[in-house]
Structures are given as C-alpha cells and as structure tokens.
Amino acid sequence: MRTVTIVGYVVLGLLLVGLELAARVRPKGSIPTLGMTLRHPMRLRATRIGMLMAWWWIGWHFFVG
C-alpha cells in the first residue's frame, strides 16, 4: 500500500510538471502557466490573505511541527 501511495504522489507531481511544460511550449495555448494560474486569484484581497496564510502555515507545519 505504501508503494501505491507514493506512486500516486509521483504521478500527480509529474502531471504538474507536464502541465507547466505544456503551457510553456505553447504560450498562446489554452493552458496557462502555474504562475499565471496563481496570480489570477490574487486579484481578490480575500484570496491574497488566504494564500499567504496557506504558504506560511506549510512552512510552520514542516519546519516547526
């Protein structure tokens, strides 16, 4: 079961890399880059506050516990 779980994470990670590559190979295509996708919700203040909290919390969770 451990192997299946890890393979799942790897596959999902590869999908993320594949999406970024697809976006960069065809800049005018239908897939935006990750940077574009993350910047778009930043147009809203509520999302900005949420994104800051989420990233800060990830740091605290991993490096402090």
Binding site: M1, R2, T5, I6, G8, Y9, L12, L15, L16, L19, A23, G29, S30, I31, P32, T33, L34, G35, M36, T37, L38, R39, H40, P41, M42, R43, L44, R45, A46, T47, R48, I49, G50, M51, L52, M53, W55, W56, W57, I58, G59, W60, H61, F62, F63, V64, G65
Partner: protein, 204 residues
C-alpha cells in the same frame, strides 16, 4: 461578504484542524477567516505597491533557506524567522491594492485545479488512514510523513527551506501588486492585463 471562494475553503480547512485537535492551527485558520471578513468591510486603495525586484531577492531567499535549514526543526531561530516572515507578509498583504478586475484565464486553468484537488484528496485519504491525527501511517504516508527523513538531514532541510523561502518571496511580490505582473518587474507570464474600468458618463 468577501468575493471569491477563499473564505469557505479556509473555514473547511479549519474544521479539519478541529478534527486534528491542533489548537494553534485552529486559531490560525479561523483567525484568518475572521481577518478576511473584517478586511472586506474596510476601504482600500486601488494603487499597487511597487516591490523591488532583481537578484537580491534570490539571495534573500537563499539566505533565508540557509538560516532555516541550519537552525534545525522547531528551534527558536526557526520559529522567530517564520514568525517574522508571516508578519512581513501580513503587512504587505494588508497594504496591497483593492480587488482588481482582470481578463479571465484560458480554460486550461481547470487542469491545474483538477490536479490540485487530486493532490488534496490523495493527501486527505492518507491522513484519514492514520490511527491518530498527528501520528503518520507508514503504510499510507502523507506528504509530511514522506518529508520527515528529508527534513532530518541538514542538506535536505536547507533545500526544502530555500524552496519555501523562494515561494514566499514570489508570493510577496504578488501580494503587494494584487497579482499584477506589470507592476515591479515580474518574471514573465501573468494573470492577464488589467481590464480598465469604463469612464463615468459625462455630465449633461
């Protein structure tokens, strides 16, 4: 009510922290939800803050990662550095511009959202398999459980800390400008041009 899905998502994540019985995380998530509600009631300027950019930020992220990596997990230095990063981020965010109107993303953004949801579901399934909320299941590990051996080494910890710090630096630039890549000198890409608001009708 604030626009967008941020508030319900954070409240839902906060409820997960209630199940985890982690008092600090509950306070962080519900405190953030309260901040979003209060912030939505306040007036805000539409002016973006200009953020200095360039190679200095790369050096800053590397230094931050090195300090965090060398300081050790949970050390006082790590706590202080992370707390300071949070305070700086909060100040930058709260001084940022009001809600902006921008052109919609290409439809392919749904592919990103789908993979992100799949990661969240996979992580949630792994977490639900744990006998105790804060005790990892090696047969069905969460990302935290998988990261533990990496974080145990100075090199691995420094690299992960540097990656986190680089993400925080990138985020700060977006928070200051409302995600506008044309303010400062954002590194390519963007959420599309700002859609100009229509001029008010002339009197008479």
């Amino acid at each position: 009510m604030p626009a967008g899905p941020a508030l319900p998502v954070i409240v839902a994540a906060g409820l997960v922290q209630v199940v985890r019985q982690n008092a600090m995380d509950v306070a962080v998530f519900f405190g953030t939800a309260l901040l979003i509600v209060v912030d939505a009631q306040l007036p805000h300027t539409s002016r973006s803050r200009r953020i200095p950019t360039g190679f200095g930020w790369v050096v800053l992220a590397a230094l931050l990662g090195a300090v965090l990596g060398l300081a050790g997990l949970g050390s006082p230095v790590t706590r202080i550095v992370l707390a300071m990063a949070g305070v700086v981020g909060l100040v930058v965010t709260l001084r940022g511009p009001a809600d902006r109107t921008v052109a919609p993303l290409p439809p392919g953004w749904r592919a990103w959202a789908s993979v992100a949801v799949a990661v969240a579901v996979w992580e949630l399934l792994a977490w639900l398999s744990q006998d105790q909320p804060d005790l990892g299941n090696p047969d069905h590990p969460t990302l935290s459980t998988l990261a533990d051996p990496v974080l145990a080494s100075t090199l691995g910890r420094s690299l992960l800390c540097a990656a986190w710090a680089a993400g925080m630096v990138w985020l700060l630039r977006g928070l200051a400008t409302g995600g506008d890549p044309n303010t400062g000198s954002g590194s390519g890409g963007g959420s599309g041009p700002t859609v100009p608001r229509p001029d008010p009708p002339l009197p008479g």
